[in-house]
């Protein structure tokens, strides 16, 4: 299966798809939250619509001496990073940007999240928000290197940083089968860079909402949408790099990608609710002493397989 680059006119369609996936993820999360609190799950399905209606009518909050420029860049940056991430992910046979360095591009975009979250915390000139920003960077120092090496594994196996080649290399066998450690680490990092689940200390209730302590109205909506969009974009990339992308029987390639992305996204949304929040300083030691060596061993195993296979 070869991937072709479509014209730039399709960019809005790609953006709409990403937003639809983010909305679905938010709906699912709402349903799970409703069920957890004893209400019928169907009540929570409308959560994205209800939140949008509520936040669009809410006034933005402007604290004293707030840095609105940097805060705005940060809040909008989450969604922008997610949109730029999916630009390189092939949707079946089509891709918006057939970059020869797609994997590195994805990595660069997830690093933009570092800046975006910290700036979101910096913007309002509020202690809790700034503490949240620092907590995110502390978390990022733990997840970023394992993520980089996890991303390296499929690229080494495919012998290319182009996502089309990564998909083509999985024709016979999905990468998740022989690089499970890299896949698990990648999924954890996706949850981490969408500031969710165990890695949500930056927006935790112990700091009164962390980076989002002062966010209200459209700012809060953008941040929430951006986080769900990052989770969705990460799932789409994971489905492409580890779950075979568009490969599969019977169904067309684009539908397979949607199915796999949806499955991975559902898994991550369900899983992140069930895990406790980890304190960033507690995360550092296991991340550097256990996860990083494990993912390096995974990379070694992949490299040996590639060399032996020739």
């Amino acid at each position: 299966m070869t991937v072709v680059q479509v014209s730039a006119a399709w960019v809005p369609v790609a953006a709409a798809l990403l937003l639809a996936a983010a909305t679905a993820a938010a709906s699912l999360d709402g349903a799970l939250a409703a069920r957890a609190s004893g209400r019928p799950a169907a009540q929570g399905l409308a959560l994205p619509a209800a939140e949008t209606a509520r936040l669009f009518r809410q006034r933005r909050r402007a604290p004293v001496a707030a840095d609105t420029l940097l805060g705005g860049v940060g809040v909008a940056g989450l969604l922008v990073a997610a949109l730029l991430m999916v630009a390189v992910v092939p949707f079946g046979r089509w891709t918006v940007a057939d970059l020869s360095v797609g994997v590195a591009w994805f990595n660069a975009m997830d690093v933009l999240v570092w800046a975006a979250v910290w700036l979101t915390g910096w913007g309002p000139n509020s202690v809790h928000a700034l503490v949240g920003g620092y907590r995110f960077l502390a978390t990022a120092l733990s997840y970023e290197l394992p993520l980089m090496f996890a991303l390296t594994a499929p690229a080494v196996a495919a012998g290319s940083l182009r996502l089309g080649d990564v998909v083509a290399a999985q024709q016979d066998l999905w990468f998740v089968v022989w690089m499970p450690v890299a896949f698990v680490v990648f999924c954890a990092a996706v949850v981490a860079f969408s500031v969710a689940g165990p890695f949500s200390a930056a927006v935790g209730s112990v700091t009164a909402g962390g980076v989002l302590a002062e966010a209200a109205g459209v700012d809060r909506w953008l941040a929430a949408t951006g986080r769900y969009a990052l989770l969705s974009a990460g799932s789409a990339f994971g489905a492409t790099a580890f779950l075979g992308g568009g490969h599969g029987p019977l169904l067309p390639a684009w539908l397979w990608l949607l199915v796999k992305t949806g499955a991975l996204l559902t898994g991550l949304v369900v899983l992140r609710r069930r895990l406790p929040v980890l304190r960033p300083e507690r995360l550092a030691a296991p991340a550097w002493l256990v996860v990083l060596p494990l993912v390096l061993l995974q990379l070694l195993a992949v490299s040996i397989v590639v060399v032996v296979r020739g």
């Binding site: 360095v101 590195a104 660069a108 690093v111 910096w122």
Partner: protein
């Protein structure tokens, strides 16, 4: 160079220089740091125009990450928290102006006066791969030796700079606070 890439080049060039100027004109540490990041991102994207895709993307990656971390240190190490108070981003103005004008003059004169060599050979088909070959092929042994030494230096410097560090967290016997 097509018209579109010409426009893109000029936009990126103006953004890079304007953001670079902003680094010294703004009155906040955070703005200065992220103006520098914006300048580097524009430079990184300019590299994409030269078909140096890997270098361009890695420049964006490294510089954003670096500035995110640098903002912390700048704000942490500046006394009297200038991060939260307006402050000037320049000092030693006269000497700095003389040096920068002199440097600009020398570099600009070099760019204009030196006869540029004509291109020999053609770019490789796969630039990422040939870049990797050029950087790593014959120098692999050096890189393999240098990188652990560099890494050990960083770790050693951190250990020396932090007199307590893990002993603070885990107690004098390093067994952890729970097991004392």
């Amino acid at each position: 160079m097509s018209v579109v890439s010409g426009i893109v080049f000029w936009v990126l060039a103006v953004v890079a220089i304007a953001a670079g100027v902003a680094v010294f004109r703004v009155d906040s540490m955070a703005r200065a740091t992220y103006a520098l990041a914006a300048s580097f991102v524009a430079v990184g994207l300019t590299l994409l125009l030269l078909d140096l895709q890997f270098l361009g993307v890695v420049t964006v990656l490294m510089m954003v990450m670096e500035m995110a971390v640098m903002a912390i240190y700048m704000i942490m190490f500046m006394g009297m928290n200038p991060a939260l108070m307006p402050m000037s981003m320049v000092h030693g103005k006269r000497a700095a102006l003389a040096v920068s004008i002199g440097t600009f003059g020398v570099l600009a004169a070099g760019a204009l006066l030196v006869p540029w060599p004509t291109r020999r050979g053609a770019p490789a088909a796969d630039l990422v791969e040939s870049l990797g070959e050029a950087v790593m092929h014959s120098k692999m042994l050096v890189m393999m030796t240098v990188s652990p030494v560099l890494f050990a230096t960083i770790v050693a410097a951190l250990v020396l700079a932090l007199p307590r560090s893990r002993y603070d967290r885990l107690g004098d016997d390093l067994r952890g606070p729970d097991r004392r």
